[in-house]
């Protein structure tokens, strides 16, 4: 009698739990549908398009063209180079900045963080045009520099690789600083005290303890910056002056000038695949660090 009633009870509880799970799933349904509509279907459509030849046949034509034409290889190389340099510059500028922020008292750090974030909240287009105004031949920097007598000819600061890198680094910097700052803030100051107590000078304590512990944030930030750079369009298009051609620009020309959706899609697919491979590699490194306890 008693055993029977407990069994009934258990079955009822199980059904309750099942119903609860269904209810939770139904709550996430609208978001799921949205993601499928605006992400999965278009990406799948592009993927499909990239395998359709100009004549409307199913073929690898676009990919063959990508592999055979040297200009495409050059564009991919430039894209990766520009992304790599931008990421390197962001690390060079961002690491000391994040370190400084992490060492500041909380309130001061919050104020300085706003200074880092402020450009982040401004339109990329506005900031890019601002850099154009600063860097061009008759721009602010060149006219000041020449007036002060630092240099006599206008420096070629924009419409080339350096202009592209300056603009992209500026726009990408917060993406690196934010995760890095978070990861640095999570480092217990006892670790550095212990390092010092065990005989590590401040410099060695930094290299042996602080840097490895901040690595998850650095890897995450660098991965975000690098991947965003791979698909960046507005800033390199305006500041590169046509001399620095990235994959994103080639996609734009293919569509705007040649209406060749297949070719553009193939470029997009290759870029997407390369990005995913990189993201996977980065996550392996970051995961490895977390496994070693670096996240704490």
């Amino acid at each position: 009698m008693r055993a029977g009633s407990t069994l009934l009870h258990a079955a009822e509880l199980y059904r309750d739990e099942h119903r609860e799970r269904l209810r939770l799933f139904s709550l996430s349904l609208p978001a799921l549908i949205l993601v499928i509509c605006v992400l999965v279907i278009p990406v799948g459509w592009l993927f499909w398009l990239s395998f359709i030849s100009d004549a409307g046949q199913l073929s690898l034509e676009h990919y063959r063209r990508l592999a055979s034409q040297a200009s495409y290889a050059r564009i991919f190389r430039t894209t990766f180079e520009v992304s790599f340099y931008t990421t390197a510059l962001c690390i060079l500028l961002g690491y000391p900045l994040a370190y400084l922020l992490a060492q500041m008292p909380r309130r001061l750090a919050a104020i300085c963080m706003i200074a880092v974030m402020l450009p982040f909240w401004t339109s990329v287009l506005v900031r890019t045009y601002a850099w154009l105004a600063l860097l061009q031949r008759q721009g602010v920097i060149n006219s000041w520099g020449m007036e002060a007598g630092f240099w006599s000819e206008p420096l070629p600061l924009v419409h080339n690789l350096s202009g592209t890198l300056i603009g992209m680094t500026h726009i990408m910097l917060p993406y690196l600083v934010l995760p890095l700052y978070g990861s640095m803030k999570a480092i217990n100051s006892d670790y550095l005290k212990a390092a010092a107590n065990l005989g590590a000078s401040p410099v060695r304590a930094f290299w042996l303890v602080y840097l490895p512990l901040s690595m998850p944030g650095l890897v995450a930030g660098s991965a975000i910056v690098f991947i965003l750079c791979l698909g960046f369009y507005v800033t390199p298009a305006l500041l590169g002056g046509g001399k620095v051609i990235l994959v994103s620009m080639r996609i734009a020309t293919d569509i705007e000038m040649f209406f060749n959706w297949g070719a553009a899609s193939a470029l997009g697919v290759v870029l997407l695949v390369l990005t995913l491979v990189l993201l996977f590699l980065a996550s392996r490194i970051a995961d490895f660090d977390r496994l070693a306890g670096g996240a704490r």
């Binding site: 212990a194 010092a196 005989g199 660090d289 306890g293």
Partner: protein, 361 residues
């Protein structure tokens, strides 16, 4: 592992203020070579600040600290060459157990084979042989504590600092580690400064205890003297339980509510407190008459609390003062106990009747 000769520590007039708060107020303390000294005090008493000053993480406003003959106030932490076990253990999560213990040796340029040998020996010392390749997050709290200890002693420092190293462990493990730490100290012989707020831990482990409150040393003495003969009310209250009864000393005699007390030594005239430890009070039966060894007290039982191996009685004296009495739960005592509300006669040995000066707050 006895090469690192122990060093005495001399602390002279060390003061440290944070704004108007004096964390350390002209602290002077001599720690003997090879001694296990505990800094005991409530949180915010300055005991941790003093340890941080010794480690070099906090610079005092004034004062001097000598390790042996070496003045260290201006020596940065990484050049002090002292071991430290942190409350959080601070084991580097990106290194293995062996990597953590090898860290101080690597910094000192010890060669690889010697490092391996000493890491293994340190692991054996803390009974974690074979754990060198484990990751830190695979260890239990007690094992982490041992690794932290191994890392602090592997480079044979002459001074070892410990900041509440057992506070994160559960009670059983803590008591076990107290004994083990004490044994380790005896075999290694380094001067050890141990910070805790746990009075029992301090009493169990220390050669001497420095009771710290409000940035000053209240009393520096052996565990038994700190417990039996506290120098002031704060010490008596912080360490162990005690009841206090007001006593007036006049012309060489001490009076408690008009009753003359038998004391071993009577201090000068003034207001005092008779300190009564609950376990030192004896419950006397009807037949036991006044003796010359006991001071007698009579009151009524207010409450009986059963605590397993012992019991506690709360007793109210005619003057209104309250006392606590503790005794073992043996049947002979339990059967003759008066009920709550009943009259009870208590005796305290004259050698345990100890007066401490009344402090006006």
């Amino acid at each position: 592992m006895n090469q690192g000769a122990a060093l005495p520590i001399k602390i002279r007039h060390v003061t440290k203020s944070y704004g108007s708060f004096k964390a350390l107020d002209s602290v002077s303390l001599d720690i003997r070579s090879g001694e296990f000294l505990t800094l005991l005090g409530p949180s915010g008493s300055g005991k941790t600040t003093l340890l941080m000053v010794l480690a070099g993480f906090t610079r005092p406003d004034t004062g001097s600290i000598l390790f042996g003959d070496r003045e260290v106030v201006r020596v940065p932490p990484h050049k002090r060459d002292i071991g430290m076990v942190f409350q959080s253990y601070a084991l580097f999560p990106h290194m293995t157990v062996g990597g953590n213990i090898a860290f101080p040796l690597r910094l000192r340029g010890v060669n690889k084979t010697e490092i391996a040998r000493r890491v293994n020996r340190a692991l054996e010392t803390v009974k974690l042989g074979g754990y060198a390749d484990r990751r830190i997050d695979q260890l239990s709290g007690g094992q982490r504590q041992r690794v932290a200890l191994a890392r602090a002693i592997v480079f044979e420092p002459s001074i070892l600092l410990m900041d509440e190293p057992l506070s994160a462990l559960d009670k059983q493990l803590r008591e076990h580690m107290q004994v083990e730490l004490r044994q380790l100290h005896e075999s290694l012989g380094m001067t050890t400064v141990y910070v805790t707020h746990d009075q029992r831990e301090a009493l169990t482990m220390s050669d001497r205890i420095a009771v710290i409150n409000k940035g000053s040393v209240m009393q520096l003495d052996t565990p038994s003297r700190v417990y039996e003969k506290p120098s002031r009310r704060f010490v008596a209250e912080f360490i162990g339980e005690s009841s206090f009864l007001p006593v007036r000393v006049q012309g060489g005699d001490a009076f408690l509510d008009g009753q003359r007390l038998k004391l071993d030594d009577v201090p000068g005239d003034g207001e005092y407190l008779l300190m009564l430890r609950p376990e030192k009070l004896r419950i006397l039966g009807e037949e036991q008459k006044e003796t010359q060894h006991f001071n007698l007290l009579e009151g009524r039982v207010a409450r009986f609390i059963y605590q397993g191996e012992s019991f506690v009685l709360e007793v109210v004296l005619p003057s209104g003062s309250q006392l606590t009495v503790r005794d073992m739960t043996s049947s002979s005592i339990m059967n003759s106990l008066p009920q709550p509300g009943g009259v009870i006669r208590l005796g305290i040995d004259r050698r345990d009747s100890f007066l401490i000066p009344e402090e006006r707050p």
